[in-house]
Amino acid sequence: MIAVCLKFSPPPGIGGRAPDGHGFDDRFDDRLGGVSPADRAALEVALRFGEATGNDVVAVSAGPLAVQRVLRDALACGATAARHIVAALERDSVDVAADLAAAVHGADMVVCGDYSLDRGSGSVPAFIAHHLGTAQALGLVDLDLDLPDSDGAGRGPLALRAIRRLDGGRREVLAVTTPCVVSVEGAVALDGTSVSLRRASLPGLVAAADAPIEQLAPAAHRSSTTVSHVSDFRPRARILGSPTGVVTLDRVRQLLDTGGSVAHGETVELDPRASAERIIESLRHWGYLS
């Protein structure tokens, strides 16, 4: 069995945040929000692997009732079964992962997105791997399935070749065998070509509307961390590197420049043609255009 974990997130500012700005409201509306591009790619990867190996594909999501929408979408696209862990939306990722791990127990491969839209930490897949005691291959940009001869498909461990992104444009080629947990980026390539989620067929969509979704209760966990304050992003004041340069003026300028968190430029509001002219004028002035 191949499991795919999908996280449904409300759009920022809507539903997720309680009216008083503190804590979270679980009763968000399933019309808005959705899954991350990475989760969409994860679903396509799981479906392709399922098809290639003759495995069932089980879609799993933890959260309030609204998450059933993504599970139905997954069923419509061809997932064989769906499991819904009925829980609050905003819980510590370790607890979410423990429930997901229990729900996907026995899976040959667990496919996750590299990040969820709201938390975006990429930590849930690593926690799942911990709970299942398997290897992890996270943040993948490329994935190949080395299928043994066709009659061997579906039995025994499978070998995967995966490329994971490192810092500074470097990448790491990993060899993993199932069972394992992988997480994929939104534009992950499968056997060399980047995947995008298929469109559900009309019969698939109709069948998914009535398909049963198994509901699971979350295990009891210690209470999750409470967020004491939610606000719009503001950059932290950055520490200044000590000024370099021979010219005093340059050093002073560096000291005055706070590394970009403060406005120091000019703002103009012009029609498109005038905007373009203004940009070209600045580029000339700065010496990038003659």
């Binding site: 019309r31 419509a76 298929r198 067929s201 109709v206 509307a209």
Partner: protein, 447 residues
């Protein structure tokens, strides 16, 4: 791997064979689906957007009386912004404004009259009733064409999904103003831009108490202001109405004029908002949304044939929107025509005759009710209200008379009304003959 080669999870025919396909989950489509599903028919309701209402203009004033027949006590559950208890009709010139203001407490209590509502909420709610009645709603699914048998009878639709053909005994096109299905079916004559107006609207956020204070209302009471003039010389009209903590300001503009003047609709709204009578109402509102949409406004003059073999057309797709000056009602006409289309389709299916004749009950129902009666009655209204005289000269005339009446011009004595009228008529450049003729036309149209 292409979509087509994917194995289907279900029997390929499951769901692809229903009694009725309703295209478009707007007010017309949902009411058709509710009606049909309650009669035990298998209904597929197709919606192009990710959810009903997602593609629709953000809000409007709806008059849901017709829902008494489908959802008794609808006012207890309908997602409402404010109940309209105050209607103002305003005539603007560049520097003047004259308002007629009407208020009634009756519209602020059950069974209510009209309300402002956000279409994403309203359409979603109505489609929820269709689903509850047993209709199957499929979103993000666009109907792309009609299926016909050799005799030309419509027997279903094609969609943009893999394996997406759906067969049905009757198709009801409720796909809105640009109805592609009505066009494809040949029921529509070639669209003439002169028959459409462009509606554009800004939604502005203001704190609820500021709205209450500026518009003189409390609680969930709200205001609807219809405006004649103020559209910077482009023939049309304006409107302002209050939502819970936003207000909508918009204009409805005659297309050929707009094109001829090369004006941008945003600029015309900006002009309206800057008018001295409007500015204090909208000041400080933060722009939340800007939207533009066509309105079929020529009413009967542009209505397509409403019935084809195996096909009915309802709502804006059939130009059912009543846009006649101080009225802008589309949702109620859409809901009613959808409901009647549903009844007629059920009847025809029950009799096993979905030919043009078998579906004739639709036209009859429309003829017998407000849907076509109002349209017949007001058939001259759009042309009259959008005529150059009504648009450009009469506001001048009316406001001029009012200013003359209320001006204190001592030591000169107050002018007599007749004399004032004559002077202002000349000043506004209105010929007496035209005034009398338009007055008569107005009386016949609205009287």
């Amino acid at each position: 791997m292409s979509d087509a080669s994917l194995p289907d999870t279900a029997d390929p025919r499951a769901g692809n064979d229903v009694d009725v396909v309703v295209v478009g989950a707007g007010p017309a489509g949902s009411c058709a689906a509710i009606t049909l599903a309650r009669r035990g028919l298998r209904v597929l309701l197709l919606e192009r957007g990710p959810f009903p209402g997602s593609k629709n203009m953000y809000g409007g004033v709806v008059y849901p009386r017709i829902l008494d027949q489908l959802i008794p006590q609808w006012w207890e559950e309908m997602p409402v912004q404010r109940w309209i208890t105050r209607r103002t009709t305003m005539v603007l010139t560049d520097t003047q404004a004259l308002s007629v203001d009407f208020r009634t407490e009756a519209w602020g209590t059950a069974p209510y009259n009209g309300a402002t509502a956000f279409r994403p909420d309203f359409d979603h709610w109505l489609a929820g009733h269709a689903e509850a009645a047993g209709a199957r709603l499929l979103c993000s699914t666009t109907a792309t064409g009609l299926l016909r048998d050799t005799a030309g009878t419509v027997i279903g639709v094609t969609t943009d999904r893999p394996n997406g053909d759906v067969r049905a005994r009757v198709v009801i096109a409720c796909d809105g103003v640009n109805s592609f299905l009505a066009k494809e079916s040949g029921l529509h004559a070639k669209p003439d831009p002169a028959n459409y107006t462009l509606g554009v609207k800004e939604t502005l956020a203001l704190p609820k108490d500021v709205i209450d204070e500026r518009f003189g209302v409390r609680g969930t009471d709200g205001v609807d202001i219809e405006i004649l003039g103020g559209t910077s010389g482009v023939n049309g009209g304006g409107f302002i109405y209050t939502n819970f903590d936003t207000i909508a300001v918009g204009v409805v503009l005659k297309l050929p004029k707009l094109a001829a003047q090369q004006r941008r609709p945003e600029d015309i709204i900006a002009g309206l908002k800057a008018h001295s009578a409007i500015a204090p109402l909208v000041e400080g509102g933060e722009l939340k949304e800007y939207s533009a949409h066509l309105i079929p406004e020529a009413g009967l003059a542009m209505m397509p044939q409403l019935v084809g073999a195996g096909l009915l057309v309802a709502g804006d797709a059939a130009a059912m929107c009543l846009a006649a000056g101080i009225w802008l009602e589309g949702v109620n006409f859409a809901m009613a025509s959808g409901m009647y289309a549903g009844e007629a389709a059920a009847e025809a299916i029950g009799r096993g005759d979905v030919s043009v004749n078998g579906l004739a009950g639709y036209r009859k129902r429309l003829d017998d009710t407000f849907v076509l009666r109002d349209h017949r009655k007001l058939r001259r209204a759009p042309a009259l209200v959008l005529s150059d005289r009504v648009q450009h000269m009469y506001p001048q005339l009316i406001a001029g008379v009012a200013e003359g009446m209320f001006r204190v011009d001592n030591p000169a004595p107050k002018p007599g009304l007749r004399k004032l009228l004559a002077t202002e008529r000349k000043r506004a450049g209105v010929r007496r003959r035209d005034l009398i003729r338009d007055g008569w036309a107005g009386f016949r149209t609205f009287g």
